[in-house]
Symmetry: C2
Subunit: 213 residues, 2 copies
DNA sequence: ACCTGAACACCGTTCAAGT
DNA sequence: ACCTGAACACCGTTCAAGT
C-alpha cells in the first residue's frame, strides 16, 4: 500500500472500502489507520471521532444513488431512484446498514432526494403530499434493503432452511407459519421489491387524481 | 437489587430492561451481570455469547406485539398488528433496532405473524400473495420504525433544525430540498404511518378483487 | 450444572510530544 | 496543521478452578 497524501476524502474512501470488504462489525480505527499506512491517531486529524467518520462514509454511499434527469415522467423518476437505492445497497451490502443511521447531508448525497422532490412538485404534488410520499418511500426502501440484506425471510422460521423450532411445535401451534415457509423463502427479492413499489406509485397517482377532481 | 435465582428467561429480561433504559450502545455483558448481582461469566451459563442473548431479547420484544382475534376483518387484523408493531417499537425505543437483526423465532414472538398469515388466508389470499403482502408490510413497518426512532426526517437537512449545510449552498443547488424542510419536519409520525398503511391495504384489496374476476 | 476471578486480545479516545 | 507512540479505561470471551 503506497502512502498517498492524506485528506478527509481519502480517509473516508479508505474506510468505505474497508467496511465494504470486511464488514461494519470488524471495522476499527486501528485497522483503518493500518490500511492507509498511518498511525491510528492520524485519522483523528480529519474526523473528531468514529461516528463522524461513519457519517462521511454514508455520504459517499448515498452519492452513488442515481439522480434521474428532469424530463422523465414522475413515476419513472421515482422508480429509478428506488431501484438505484436498492442496487447501491446490494453493491455495498456491508456498508448499507449505515444509511438508516445517517441521512443524506452533503450536496452529492442529496442529489437523488432533490431529483425526487422535483419530480413530485412538477407532477403537481404540493409540499405536504410530496413529504408524505417521500416518507413512505424512504420507509419502504430502507426496510426492504435491511430485510433483504439480513436474510429476514430466508432466516425466518417460516422458511424451511432454519431449524430453530422443532417441526412438531411449529406445525401444531403455528400452522400458517409452517405452511408459509416455501412461499416466503422461494420468492425473488427484486420482483417483490417491484411489487411493493408499484403498489405505492399507484396509490400516489390515485390520491393525486382524486385531489384534482 | 435482590438476587433471585438465575434462569435463561430472567437474564434475558434483565438485559431487555437494561437496554431499554441505557441503550444498545452502552450495553455490555459486564453491566448486565452487575445488574443481576452476578459475575460477568455467569451470563455465559445461559447464553453462549452476546449475539445469542440479543436474539433472546428480540424475542421478548416481539412477543409484546398484539395477535388479534380470528373473527375480525382481515384488513382490521393487519391494521392492528402494524399499529402494535409500531407501538411496541416506540415503547421500547432503544431496544427496537434489534428487530431488524433478529426475526421472530419463538412461538410467542411468532404469534402475531401467525395471526397475520391466518387473516390473509381466510380472506382468500393464496400462499404467494400472502407472502408478498407480508414482505411489503414487514419492509414498511421496519423502515418506518427505524426512520422515526432515528429522527430521519427531523435530522434531515431538508428540515430546518439541522444546520449541517449552509443556507446558501443548499438553496442554490438543492432548492426543492430547501423548500421541503418545514413540510417534512412538521408532519405527525403516527398520521403518516397510517397513510402508508392504508395505501398498502388498499393495494392488497384491489389486487385481490382483480384476481377474483 | 452453575458460578467465580484472573487473564488475553482487543477496542475508542486522551495526552504529551514532536514536525 | 499534521502526525506519532504510549497510556487509560474499557470491551467480549477463554481458561483454570471451585461448588
Amino acid at each position: 500500500m503506497v502512502r498517498e497524501k492524506l485528506t478527509e476524502r481519502r480517509v473516508a474512501e479508505a474506510a468505505f472500502k474497508l467496511i465494504d470488504e470486511k464488514g461494519l462489525e470488524g471495522f476499527t480505527m486501528r485497522k483503518l489507520a493500518d490500511s492507509i499506512g498511518a498511525s491510528t491517531m492520524a485519522v483523528y486529524t480529519y474526523f473528531p471521532d468514529k461516528e463522524a467518520l461513519l457519517t462521511a462514509v454514508a455520504q459517499l454511499l448515498l452519492a452513488e444513488v442515481e439522480a434521474p434527469a428532469e424530463d422523465l415522467d414522475w413515476q419513472e423518476v421515482i422508480r429509478r431512484i428506488m431501484r438505484s437505492v436498492r442496487e447501491v445497497g446490494h453493491r455495498h451490502a456491508r456498508t448499507a446498514p449505515l444509511i438508516t443511521r445517517f441521512p443524506p447531508r452533503t450536496p452529492d448525497a442529496l442529489a437523488f432526494v432533490e431529483a425526487g422532490f422535483r419530480a413530485f412538485r412538477r407532477a403537481g404534488f404540493d409540499d405536504l403530499s410530496t413529504a408524505r410520499c417521500y416518507r413512505a418511500l424512504a420507509a419502504y426502501s430502507i426496510g426492504s434493503l435491511e430485510n433483504e440484506l439480513n436474510g429476514y425471510f430466508t432466516r425466518h422460521p417460516a422458511s424451511e432452511a432454519s431449524g430453530s423450532l422443532d417441526e412438531i411445535t411449529i406445525s401444531k401451534h403455528l400452522p400458517h407459519v409452517a405452511q408459509m415457509g416455501p412461499a416466503l423463502s422461494g420468492q425473488d427479492d427484486a420482483t417483490e421489491f417491484e411489487y411493493g413499489l408499484d403498489l405505492m406509485l399507484t396509490g400516489f397517482a390515485d390520491a393525486m387524481a382524486k385531489a384534482r377532481q
